[in-house]
Amino acid sequence: MADAKPQRLTDIGPPHHDRFMPPIIKKNYGKWKYHEIPRPGVLVHTSDSGDKLYTVRAGSPRLLSTKKIRIFADLATKYCGGHLRFTSRHNVEFLLTDAANIDPLIADLDALGHPVGGTGNSITSIVHTQGWVHCHSAATDASGVVKAVMDDVIDEFKTMELPAKLRIALACCLNMCGAVHCSDIAILGIHKRIPQIDLKTLPKLCEIPNLIASCPTNAIRPTTYEGKPSVEIQEDQCMFCANCFTVCPAMPIADPDTDGVSIWIGGKVSNARSEPMFSKLAIPFIPNNPPRWPEVVEAVRMIVDLWKANANKHERVGEWIERIGWPKFFRMSGIPFEKTHIDDFKHAGLTFKRSAHLTY
């Protein structure tokens, strides 16, 4: 047939990375010997063959326009044969073989407003989620808080003067698309008001048994409304997790006056020295204060400074606090300890202090 359409392609999967890796990486794949960080934001990897690969890492807001991606692409063409990559923390990396190109590339990136850094003992880009830019669940914005915090701590991105690396992450609701729960500092959006049930649309939009089953605390009970099956919420059993809203749009939970963020600290994923650990609650609630969330910025800065001034070399935030003990951390930081800091979910008893090992 002359006008046959090309067959619709499906299930082809992503292109193989061989299509994109620079020749120096193909040649030395699996043969890298060691690396050095000659200056913040620049990595030099040396291979068995003696080849050297220079990586220049620049910060990014994660939300990028095609215009900016094209500029990154053109910089890669100008300085490194058109090869670049992104990191799991949203940084962009240029992969150079000619050391002479490092300085001019950095100058171009600076002029573009993308600082170079995020290596070694620094604060690198904040892993974060969509917030008000794109999600229905958000208890806070993501990009705006991240921008305000990074504006404030940018010197720690551009230098490597911290005791260890510091990883900040933000998720705008408990769904935690960014799985922030193992970060040195996690900023987490939270709701504090129970879902407002839209009784009229609920029967049309939602399956009631699923809705009831979705609640981890069994706070949702069956009832009837205008003769039809409906639900009600046991207020004192609701922990504002929004799980019901995820399965049923007629349970909106966002509320400008009570939504905000909480701050969790001391988590890590790396196995280095101590085992991976969860972040723990430091500040239970800070109201949303857009566009720059000054109270959140100040809290992050306070924790960073306190850790920087007091931790031993190589100690991540959580390792430092484990050494000094949480009571001492609360005393040093001036953060008030409240009822909300005490766990009351499953296995809460394991988090109670079960010894006389205390500091005074």
Partner: protein, 402 residues
């Protein structure tokens, strides 16, 4: 497309100032020609003013034959900001290690400039390249142009989510297996499971080349494959001495912090009792020229990590203490174990129950029985400290009678 409307954005303008790159500048740059990006500016300013999001619950949209890869998104103010009334997200499966060429990035941008908002996330939390903001009629054209370029969609919903990995052997001397090779293989092997949701809930794979776990697999994936070794740490004594000379305090900074307490430094030679080494990477991280992972390399497999929803957050825990990861990957017995686990989870898991929660509910011991794995001491931090044991001798005897 011409953009005629302009929004006053006093709140967002404040986020264009300051030294960190501004997402507002990105949206505004796209909004100069793109009406969707322009209306997003208006909508976002309203959110900032009201402290409230304006996105509705996603609807079910997608490309023909796929159940995942597109997340439906509609604004609750369609009259006021018509260009973002549909603003669906398309997840594009990234190449392993997030490597690109300038050429392919330009081509991806061409597709997105033609059909969408001109806005992206490089990258989303799971690893995909995220195309933010597409209308329903444009989904199929975007998909067909992406596949022509050799790209495909990623996962969403209750399917295998887009696997992701650290850059591994492509650039890191510590990678104990080829994370990118394995990630590409897994992604290709499970294309059907990735595009057509058929699980109780999502299923994430993340591959890290060593216990530094740069992709946070232990916190963020149902199946965490973390490179490690089981022979001796390779030592270059000369380079270790150089670190010492150049100011590294090997006792204080390394030996004391070693969790296996297995490092001895006499001022001239470092000695490691490898049988007590916990494979934590610390000593190697501090002296990359002096120490390196051993030569008998492979990976530890851990399972079950997740964020809090529904029953609380979990870290992955050990399920296979060590396995070799060598080509041909298809011959690895591991895939049979995985499919066995999926069968058990699919047959018995509740809706929206991650495999980690499922294991918590039925018990790790019972789960191992079901999938045919032997319990080993590496799977627990310590044996139980309560005596409420479900001894099974009696049950087993009965079974034998049948």
């Amino acid at each position: 497309m011409a953009v005629d409307k302009k929004y006053e954005t006093p709140m967002l303008d404040q986020l264009e100032t300051g030294p960190w790159p501004s997402f507002v500048k990105e949206i505004k740059a796209a909004g100069e020609e793109n009406p969707m990006a322009n209306d997003l500016i208006g909508l976002l300013e309203q959110s900032y003013t009201e402290r409230l999001g304006h996105w509705k619950h996603g609807g079910i949209v997608g490309v023909m034959g796929y159940g995942g890869g597109v997340i439906g998104r509609y604004s609750d103010l369609p009259e006021k900001y018509p260009a973002v009334s549909h603003f669906h997200t398309i997840r594009v499966n990234q190449p392993a290690g997030w490597y690109y060429t300038a050429d392919v990035l330009h081509k991806l941008c061409d597709i997105w400039d033609k059909h969408g908002s001109g806005l992206t996330n490089m990258h989303g939390s799971t690893g995909d390249m995220v195309l933010l903001g597409c209308t329903t009629p444009d989904l199929e054209p975007v998909f067909s142009e992406l596949t022509e370029l050799g790209f495909d969609l990623g996962g969403s919903g209750s399917d295998v989510r887009t696997p992701s990995c650290c850059c591994g052997q492509s650039r890191c001397e510590w990678a104990c297996y080829d994370t990118m090779g394995l990630t590409h293989f897994i992604t290709q092997k499970f294309q059907d499971e990735l595009h057509r949701p058929a699980f109780p809930y999502k299923m994430k794979f993340k591959m890290s080349g060593c216990p530094n776990d740069c992709v946070a697999s232990i916190a963020r994936s149902d199946i965490s494959i973390i490179g490690t070794w089981r022979d001796e740490i390779q030592i270059n004594q000369e380079e270790v001495r150089n670190y010492s000379k150049n100011g590294v305090n090997i006792v204080k900074e390394i030996a004391v912090l070693c969790p296996g307490k297995c490092i001895d430094w006499d001022g001239n030679e470092i000695k490691i009792d490898d049988s007590s080494c916990r494979h934590c990477m610390h000593c190697i991280n501090v002296m990359p020229k002096g120490l390196a992972p051993g030569k008998d390399r492979g990976a530890v497999v851990l399972m079950g990590a997740k964020a809090p929803i529904v029953e609380g957050a979990l870290l992955s825990s050990v399920i296979i203490p060590f396995m070799k990861i060598e080509e041909p990957y298809d011959d690895m017995e591991f895939w049979e174990v995985i499919e066995e686990m999926w069968d058990v989870w699919c047959d018995n898991g509740k809706a929206r129950e991650r495999i980690g929660e499922f294991i918590q509910r039925v018990g790790l011991g019972n789960f191992l029985d079901e999938v045919g794995l032997e319990p080993v001491a590496e799977m627990v931090a310590h044996p139980r400290d309560n005596p409420y044991i479900f001894y099974e001798d009696y049950l087993e005897e009965e079974d034998e009678d049948e």
